[in-house]
């Protein structure tokens, strides 16, 4: 079980927010008003977790990840292409587990009391309060098996969605948040390809940070230490790419060039919230 909440004046969370998201840090410091409301909760809840609406007990949340490629690296996309993925890496900077429902049409909840009264415009995402996080920059081999990403602080409460903040891959791919290589085939056509997305090209329309928000999080009633499993669906990233529009070189891999329809499709898939499914389990 979690320990009793105390003021978190120097938590990892606050430091993380200050370091990575200076606008959020202003709020943690109790300052400026000119900051977007949806990020307000991030610092406030974790620095004032005695809020009775949350239960107020501190817990530890382990974060794990796997992808759909681990079981089958071959994806059939929505435009008739079969894609065998040979390399897939994703860089995470931070994960937030928050109280706001996902940015979509909700199923009618069994427990109406469990839903916060404050909502954004209908359909528009409001992250609400941060109930847990992973504050470790990690890169995930999406072809590999399930991995432990790390542990982070949390508080008891009902988490309903998650925010994925993208980070940087290492080495010569340091500017990238994701890289993916493989062979797309349709009939007799085979196109070896490489798709990549620069971390700084991701611009969340609300926060203007390189993050994907409103990702669904199931079974998020946090009452004790537990684990959040992130399941990345690479099939969502690939689903709308028409490889017929990819410029194929004489030899080597075709690169999905930014600004072209195939790359737009890849990048739009990458930022789809449905591509990241989270599940909390206690223990």
């Amino acid at each position: 079980m979690g320990q009793q909440c105390a003021p978190l004046s120097s938590t990892i969370s606050k430091n993380a927010l200050r370091r990575r998201h200076p606008r959020r840090a202003l709020l943690v410091g109790g300052g400026a008003l000119a900051v977007e409301a949806t990020r307000l909760g991030a610092g406030l809840l974790l620095s004032a977790c005695g809020d009775p609406s949350t239960g107020g007990e501190r817990v530890v949340i382990a974060s794990r990840a796997k992808s759909d490629l681990a079981e089958n690296p071959v994806v059939d996309n929505g435009l008739g292409w079969t894609i065998e993925v040979t390399r897939a890496e994703l860089a995470l900077d931070h994960l937030y587990y928050v109280s706001g429902p996902p940015a979509g049409l909700a199923w009618r909840p069994v427990d109406l009391l469990a839903i916060p009264s404050a909502h954004a415009h209908p359909g528009h995402y409001d992250s609400g309060d941060v109930l847990g996080e992973l504050d470790e920059a990690v890169s995930i081999d999406l072809l590999g098996s399930e991995v432990l990403l790390g542990e982070g602080p949390g508080v008891t409460g009902q988490a309903r969605s998650a925010i994925v903040a993208l980070g940087h891959l290492g080495g010569e791919d340091a500017a990238l948040a994701v890289v993916l290589e493989g062979v797309a085939s349709q009939g007799d056509v085979e196109i070896p390809f490489r798709a990549e997305v620069a971390q700084n090209s991701i611009d969340n329309p609300t926060s203007h940070l390189p993050e994907i928000d409103g990702c669904p999080l199931d079974d998020g009633k946090i009452e004790s230490n537990g684990t959040v499993l992130l399941e990345v669906s690479v099939a969502v990233w690939l689903d709308r790419i028409d490889f017929a529009e990819v410029s194929v070189p004489g030899s080597g891999m075709a690169v999905l060039e930014p600004g072209t329809p195939p790359h737009n499709a890849f990048q739009r898939g990458l930022v789809k919230a449905l591509g990241y499914h989270f599940t909390y389990s206690p223990g």
Partner: protein
């Protein structure tokens, strides 16, 4: 400290009496109306669009019902069940009905639904017999027809949608504070307006509160250039083919890949409460 504890003890002993009601408790009503505001009645002017288009609705039909007043603990207050068809281009607010005999106090769960019309649907004065037939035959919950203009260019649209949605847990944000549901006073009539925001159909993001109004992408869907943008033509526009300067067209957690699905999803964010108040959209 002891005095505080004693006071809290007295206060606590009172709570069950208040919660259970008493013979002396007053009653009031919730008067429900629906309004499409100026954007639906008059039009959406060019200056609120990011790309200079403007929109004028000729018809804005919506089927509304299952209006409920409850308490968060499950106590039922009352409801207006019949699915009723309104044309919101008629001058409003239009009356939906009244839920009477409610105990005074805060009824913190207010909700309503927009459901697919059928032969049981009731027609309000604002909706014609033809409107009713159109909606009931097709099973639409929303139907909009109108035109968009930019300079000399005009594009017409006539779109029917079968995307039922429940707007639950409505929050009143008037007077600078959030109030869940409605507050009923003794002998008073509390106002509950189902406010329909006609501009949401043209938002360029299903998830971001910073969505912009745009029509250019929709106009570009008119593949046969006959001046009318059909839903089928919208379905041919893949979001993946849109560049960043055409709008974000973010989809959040909606499973949406083309402009038809995008606009269909947008219909499920039309419902509001007492003006700018908000509700939680759910599958009904």
């Amino acid at each position: 400290m002891n005095a505080w504890l004693a006071w809290l003890s007295v206060l606590g002993s009172c709570v069950p009496l208040v919660a259970c009601g008493s013979d002396d408790q007053g009653e009031g009503s919730v008067v429900v109306s629906v309004w499409g505001e100026e954007y639906i009645e008059v039009g959406i002017p060019a200056h609120v669009f990011e790309d200079g288009w403007s929109v004028k609705y000729d018809e804005f039909l919506v089927a509304l019902g299952d209006v409920t007043v409850e308490k968060g603990d499950g106590t039922q207050g009352g409801s207006l069940d019949p699915l009723t068809l309104f044309d919101l281009t008629a001058a409003g607010p239009q009356s939906v009905g009244s839920i009477d005999g409610l105990a005074e106090g805060n009824w913190d769960e207010f909700g309503f639904s927009s459901l697919e019309a059928d032969s049981e649907a009731v027609r309000s004065q604002s909706a014609s017999a033809d409107d009713w037939e159109l909606m009931a035959d097709a099973g639409y919950n929303v139907y909009v027809a109108g035109k968009a203009s930019k300079g000399e260019v005009e594009k017409r649209f006539a779109w029917g949608f079968s995307k039922p949605v429940r707007y639950a847990s409505c929050v009143d944000v008037r007077n600078g504070q959030d109030t869940s549901g409605v507050v009923v006073g003794d002998g008073a009539e509390a106002e509950a307006q189902l406010t329909i925001h006609g501009d949401h159909l043209f938002y360029d993001d299903l998830a971001s509160p910073e969505a912009k109004l745009r029509f250019a992408v929709i106009a570009s869907a008119d593949a046969d250039d006959d001046g009318e943008v059909t839903l089928e033509e919208l379905g041919a526009i893949q979001l993946a083919d849109l560049s960043a300067d055409q709008g974000t067209y973010g989809v959040g957690a909606f499973d949406v890949d083309d402009m038809r699905a995008f606009v269909e999803a947008a219909t499920q964010s039309l419902g509001h409460f007492n003006g700018e108040g908000h509700c939680r959209p759910e599958r009904p």
